[in-house]
């Protein structure tokens, strides 16, 4: 599989293929989709966090002139008798049934031809509830008497959830455990023991194209247009809900106006499917920005981490307990819990490790994947912890990391041996760029400067499948069919480059056909930085298959394999005119071994490792607590980049997003209500929030089983940002923050407490 690029298509910093469409406003988004006779839906949502539904009064809304229909869960059941969905648990109803479990949960929906009328009518709906006590904290949810779901219903997809089938009286949606070595003895023998607890806050992806889905009924078929990162999953899940064969459900996407993990699995798709079948008309639902915050969020977390350290500064044992606040519906939370559980102990070579990672139901809006699949929450804790230990022992934080680093060829906590993970190189380049050890301006007066670094790593999601088709037309032009969704990461361009490299044609000439499940083949989803590696390998194989078929055609036409007769001429000779196609097919599924249920150990946890590090230089205003990031250095191991330019923008974009989660973003809840579901009060980074300098670097590396040595990049730059900044704050002013976000007030309070 390890072929190097020769045709010069891979490795080009080619501008994105869709650039022209995007700068002229012509790029296609589902947001734009409209057809005659279409109905617009507006969702009526729960105003409380937990309660039994006594009555939903919809008559006033139905009477509004222009309203086509108002539906509640009983209506949905006429077309979908068992309307519960979810990738890990079948726990989420299309519209609330009997109970609401989080504020903002969909309870009813109004349909009208005019979206303003639908919105106006939805405001007239009144729901009465018997309010129940709510559980909102992930640690409390472990032992709370408040139970979010009466009985657990695993979806059956994941073997490690089977044991939870039918469980009652618990909020625990997965308890991943890993046991390696003898943790107890190591702690007993330790020279030093350190224990800290870290927390992260609820935040939201806020893609600027809010969730949008539409459905159009056909004759025994249904077409869904949706801004989704997982069109194949949508087809399978909608077919399951309807009891239809997969081939009766068609799912199409377009460019996504951002995804970041929000637009995965089922969001609005099941609802629009039900509404289209109920009304026999095309139905579209476009969420407003505020509604996004009730749809999916990033897991708040609590992480207790404890380390045993020897006299010479070696970490001999580590105990990790992580509680993930999954909200009212599991979504993909149990996968976040397990996959991130693999690496909770950090990129360190530790003999004795114990990890417990708990997915918990609470009465908060559901949490799912967000750019890093739990890893940024973990790195926040273990890299803060690492610096705290080093400082306490008087060891330079870089030196301390070097003493304990996990290097290639050594087993990681799961027992999987590290391969093609350039942790050492990433650290070296960070140290070099930030000038660690060299003199440095520490500021003056009320402005104090400090520096910090942090490194994280991630196991890719596995096992997952990608399938691709390369179609060579009779004029020699090429189309690539794959269900990878380009949501801004540049996958269309990267996939075109891979196909073009194999076929030795300019990448600009490859037409990438966007996901349409009637046309493009299966792909697990566009998530977890998996596409470059998985789909990239599938595309490469599809192109190789097409090339082999071209060679076979040459042989059939009695031409030598090396003959340079152009493709159109081959087709003409074969078919007597410009006709026919050559179809190359490639599929890829990497090997994987499930972890043992009791020990979490596996010899093959992941097909590839992602490694990302951040260096930060900050200036702290000691009078106000304001922190200004002067430099943010992102260094990552991405294997050998397919397109360095796009890869660098992924690094800086990922880091800037994580900077928002680090410094400013927080969903504020009070008395069960979300106080800031809008961009006026939920502040994502703008131009003036940027660090004074941002630097990005992909270290020289190769992922040997990746396409042309490449691997994923979308999440890598998020890993180290939060702890690097907290470490830099500590370096500047000697205070330690253990909870995100690092607001000016939090910094100021810490300074006051420390008497500085």
């Amino acid at each position: 599989m390890n072929a190097t690029a020769k045709a010069g298509q891979v490795g080009r910093s080619l501008p994105r293929l869709e650039g022209r469409a995007k700068v002229t406003g012509h790029a296609e988004y589902v947001h734009n989709w409209q057809v005659p006779g279409m109905l617009h839906g507006k969702i009526f949502r729960s105003a409380i966090a937990h309660g039994r539904i006594r009555h939903v009064e919809v008559d006033a809304a139905r009477r509004v002139s222009g309203v086509h229909a108002v539906f509640v869960s009983d209506d949905v059941r006429r077309v979908i008798p068992n309307p519960y969905y979810g990738p890990a648990f079948h726990d989420q109803p299309i519209l609330a049934i009997d109970k609401v479990r989080h504020v903002g949960e969909p309870v009813a929906v109004v349909l009208a031809e005019d979206p303003h009328i639908a919105e106006e009518a939805a405001r007239l709906i009144v729901a009465e509830y018997d309010e129940l006590p709510a559980v909102t904290d992930e640690v409390e949810a472990m032992t709370s008497n408040v139970i979010v779901h009466d009985v657990l219903k695993p979806a059956g997809t994941f073997p490690d959830l089977k044991h939870l089938e039918g469980r009652k009286g618990t909020n625990l949606a997965l308890d991943f455990r890993l046991r390696r070595g003898d943790v107890r003895s190591a702690f007993a023998a330790a020279e030093h023991v350190f224990e800290h607890t870290f927390r992260t806050q609820p935040v939201m992806h806020t893609p600027l194209e809010p969730f949008v889905s539409a459905a159009e009924p056909g004759d025994g078929t249904l077409t869904i247009y949706t801004a989704s990162q997982s069109p194949s999953f949508v087809r399978i899940e909608i077919a399951r809900l309807l009891g239809w064969p997969e081939n009766h459900v068609r799912v199409k996407t377009a460019f996504l106006g951002g995804g970041f993990g929000a637009k995965l699995y089922i969001k609005l798709e099941a609802l629009v499917a039900a509404l289209a079948l109920l009304t026999r008309r095309p139905v579209k639902i476009s969420l407003a920005m505020d509604e996004q915050f009730f749809t999916i969020t990033k897991h708040p977390s609590t992480f207790r981490i404890k380390s045993a350290v020897s006299k010479d500064g070696r970490v001999t044992a580590r105990e990790c307990e992580v509680w993930w606040n999954g909200g009212a519906y599991a979504d993909i939370g149990p996968r976040v819990t397990q996959k991130s559980g693999f690496t909770a102990a950090g990129p360190y070579d530790i003999e004795n490790v114990s990890i417990d990672s708990y997915a918990l139901y609470t009465n908060r809006p559901p949490a799912g994947a967000l750019r890093g699949f739990g890893i940024p929450q973990l790195v926040w804790a273990y890299e803060s912890h690492t610096d705290m230990i080093a400082r306490a022992l008087g060891i330079d934080p870089i030196d301390f990391r070097r003493r304990n680093f996990l290097r290639d060829g050594r087993p990681q906590a799961t027992g999987t041996v590290m391969q093609d993970a350039a942790t050492g190189k990433v650290l070296d380049r960070l140290v070099e760029r930030i000038g660690w050890g060299r003199p440095f301006d520490r500021g003056q007066g009320n402005l104090k400067r400090g520096r910090g670094i942090a490194i994280g790593f991630k196991a890719s999601i596995a096992p997952t499948t990608s399938v691709a088709i390369v179609n060579l037309y009779a004029d020699g032009s090429c189309a690539l069919y794959c269900s990878t969704v380009d949501m801004g990461q540049g996958s269309d361009t990267a996939m075109a480059q891979i196909a073009a490299e194999v076929l030795d044609i300019p990448a600009e000439t490859v037409r990438v056909v966007h996901p349409d499940t009637d046309v493009t083949p299966y792909d697990m989803a566009t998530l977890g930085s998996r596409s470059t590696f998985h789909m990239g390998n599938a595309v490469k194989r599809a192109a190789e298959d097409a090339r082999a078929k071209v060679d076979a055609l040459k042989a059939e036409l009695d031409l030598p394999p090396g003959s340079n007769i152009p493709l159109p001429e081959l087709f003409r000779r074969k078919y007597g005119m410009q006709a026919g196609n050559i179809i190359g097919i490639g599929s890829f599924i990497p090997s994987y071994a499930s972890p043992d249920h009791d020990t979490g150990l596996t010899p093959n946890a992941t097909p590839f490792w992602m490694v990302g590090g951040t260096g930060a230089e900050v200036e702290v205003d000691t009078e106000t607590g304001h922190v200004r990031v002067m430099r943010l250095i992102n260094v990552a191991d991405l294997g050998t980049p397919i397109n360095l330019r796009i890869v660098e923008t992924q690094l800086s974009g990922g880091a800037i997003m994580q900077l928002g989660f680090t410094m400013q973003e927080r969903m504020e809840f009070a008395e069960g209500q979300l106080l800031n579901p809008n961009l006026a009060d939920y502040k994502i980074p703008g131009m003036r929030d940027l660090p004074a300098r941002i630097e990005n670097e992909a270290v020289a590396a190769e992922q040997r089983n990746g396409p042309f040595g490449a691997k994923g990049v979308g999440e890598t730059a998020t890993f180290g940002v939060s702890p690097a900044i907290a470490n830099a704050i500590d370096d500047a002013v000697g205070v330690r923050l253990t909870e995100l976000p690092l607001t000016p007030e939090a910094v100021y309070r810490a300074l006051t407490k420390a008497g500085r």
């Binding site: 650039g19 700068v23 002229t24 406003g25 409209q34 923008t649």
Partner: protein
């Protein structure tokens, strides 16, 4: 009551007449009557700039602007920026610099950049950041956008 009215305005250089409701915003009308989707509502509060439209040479948030107010005005959208196949220098600069990822905020940034350079042909980095602080890019393409503004400034100076 004059709940609906007929308005006439110039849209990307073409005179148009349309019947609207007084409550409709400019961005509503552009998409529903003219199939122009480049200005798009996102935050709904005038903060993200995705709905940027230029009315009588001033950039406005189309999602907070009553369509009734463009009666008699000159309205320009992202779709009117290129001349035939020829892109505006700002558009070219955005492509060259890779100044976008998902592209949803891009028309707003392009139009605001053009406004900025019309007012201030060689803005400093600080001026760029202030002028564009009302546009949000969740993909975080800001460093590339700042670079694109500089490149566009040079292109315009050298006549494209």
């Amino acid at each position: 009551m004059s709940a609906t009215r007929r308005i006439r305005f110039t849209l990307n250089g073409r005179s148009v007449t349309v019947e609207i409701g007084t409550h409709e915003t400019l961005v509503d009308v552009l998409r529903s009557r003219f199939a122009l989707f480049g200005a798009r509502e996102s935050c709904g509060q005038g903060l993200c700039g995705c709905c940027t439209v230029v009315v009588d040479d001033r950039a406005i948030s189309g999602c907070l602007f009553l369509a009734a107010r463009v009666d008699g005005a000159r309205v320009e959208t992202i779709e009117g920026l290129a001349t035939g196949e020829r892109l505006d220098p700002v558009q070219e600069a955005f492509i060259e610099c890779g100044a976008f990822q998902c592209g949803f905020c891009t028309p707003g940034f392009v139009l605001m950049t053009k406004q900025l350079l019309d007012e201030n042909p060689e803005p400093s980095e600080d001026e760029i950041k202030h002028y564009l602080s009302g546009n949000l890019c969740r993909c975080g393409a800001y460093p590339e956008i700042i670079e694109a503004v500089r490149v566009a400034s040079r292109k315009r100076k050298s006549g494209g």
